[in-house]
């Protein structure tokens, strides 16, 4: 059960968040997301629970990683 879907926080209410998944909205639990959440944050959702806040800058970093891996500068480089 690894299926995790990222979505954007639209509203916070106690231990729950209304999250938008590409136009589909669902309420998820935020008890164990392990971070403070604000409207506009992205979270990874699994089985009705947010399990991680996905920092915005990590998206760009990810694309950088893809680029680096596709054309490494030197041998011995690790991610």
């Amino acid at each position: 059960m690894c299926l995790g879907v990222p979505g954007e926080v639209l509203e916070l209410d106690g231990q729950e968040a209304r999250v938008d998944f590409r136009g589909a909205e669902k309420w998820v639990r935020t008890d164990v997301v392990g971070d403070d959440l604000a409207v506009g944050d992205y979270v990874l959702n699994h089985a009705g629970f947010a399990i991680r806040k996905i920092p915005e800058e990590q998206v760009e970093r990810t694309v950088e990683l893809y680029e680096q891996a596709a054309a490494p500068v030197d041998a011995g480089e690790t991610g």
């Binding site: 059960m1 299926l3 995790g4 879907v5 938008d20 998944f21 590409r22 136009g23 589909a24 909205e25 669902k26 959702n45 699994h46 089985a47």
Partner: protein, 352 residues
């Protein structure tokens, strides 16, 4: 022994299960044995039951015309859904099946309904009104029917069976398998809307952009396509969606099919909901679309003509028939290739 584990030799113990109704290999086995073997011979020059096509074609004994006939039972749950209801679904299903056989001018429909006692009259009224509206849009009407009532719990809501009749020039029918290598495959609009909308409604998922069934008659689109170029095969992608439709074409035609996933139109809302539900829009029902195989030389003209028709605005060329891997459909995902198979009967959302 597990559920559904049936030894076909033990006919006495065999019972029909939900799996038989799900449109899978099991369904086909049953149909072959119980139905096709019994009624399967095709009429001379026509299309019979064994072909398992969208309908049958029975040529007149003399003169140059033929009758096209098709029938379907509908048990939609819920009976009324975003974008339509079981009445509209039944009428369009039948009109579209006639169109898929080349009969784009339906003559008449019949409607037999079995109603569960306790169903509000207002619901029956609405459902039949929807049916009438859909027929009117296709230029036909319900000419005959039957009504039965069963006790509460003896049947679930409404079972609606519609039969459609059309007339064509002898030999001018369209079949599911009429395509040849090189023919292009077109779909007349975005796929998966009906299946995803119903699944979301049934599971109680709330989506910001309301999802609606695409249910509509597409007889006009088939007629327009045939005016614009040579259509070699047609089938409507209902249960099992585009994936099933192109597989049926590949099997019936003895050809391979290649589909370009990125060319298949999918509505944003449907795509988003499908991702959340863990479903594939290519594998769930459309009720207002047609898949057409078209002579390569005419593909662009047919596409452009359909895009100018109401209901066909997002027609796209999505693939082609090939001589390789007959019976198999290969999907180019943009990142690689895989087979596009007929979905197994049960379509359930994955957890997310």
């Amino acid at each position: 022994m597990t559920a559904g584990d049936v030894d076909l030799d033990k006919a006495d113990d065999e019972v029909i299960t939900a799996a038989h109704g799900a449109g899978t290999d099991r369904t086909r086995e049953l149909l072959d044995r119980v139905v096709a073997d019994r009624f399967g011979d095709p009429p001379s020059g026509g299309v019979g039951l064994a072909a398992m096509d969208d309908g049958a074609v029975v040529p007149d004994a003399t003169g140059g015309r033929a009758t096209v006939v098709t029938t379907d039972s509908h048990v939609a749950t819920p009976m009324e859904f975003p974008g339509g209801d079981i009445g509209r679904l039944a009428a369009c299903g039948t009109i579209n099946d006639l169109a898929a056989m080349g009969a784009t001018d339906p003559v008449a429909l019949t409607s037999a309904v079995v109603i569960e006692a306790g169903t509000p009259v207002a619901v029956v009224d609405r459902v039949l009104e929807s049916m009438a509206e859909a027929c009117e849009a296709a230029g036909c009407t319900v000419r005959s029917g039957d009504t039965k009532v069963m006790g509460s719990g003896e049947v679930d809501g409404l079972v609606l069976t519609t039969t459609g009749v059309g007339r064509i020039e002898r030999g001018s029918q369209l079949t599911t398998g009429g395509l040849s290598p090189g023919d292009r495959l077109l779909v007349t609009g975005p796929v998966g809307d009906h299946g995803i909308a119903l699944l979301a409604a049934r599971e109680g998922f709330d989506f910001e952009t309301p999802l609606e069934s695409d249910v509509r008659p597409v007889d006009g689109l088939v007629a327009a396509a045939r005016e614009a170029g040579t259509v070699t095969a047609a089938t409507d992608p209902t249960r099992g969606g585009l994936a099933t439709a192109v597989n049926e074409m590949a099997d019936a035609g003895g050809v391979g099919v290649r589909v370009d996933e990125r060319a298949v139109p999918v509505d944003d809302a449907t795509a988003g909901a499908a991702e959340v539900l863990g479903m594939d829009p290519l594998a769930v029902a459309c009720e207002g679309r047609m898949v057409l195989a078209v002579d390569a030389a005419d593909a662009a003209a047919v596409r452009d003509r359909l895009r100018a028709e109401p209901g066909g605005e997002r027609t796209a060329v999505v693939g082609r028939a090939v001589a390789d891997h007959p019976g198999d459909v290969v999907l180019d995902t943009g990142l690689g290739e895989r087979y596009l198979t007929v979905p197994s009967g049960e379509q359930r959302p994955r957890i997310c």
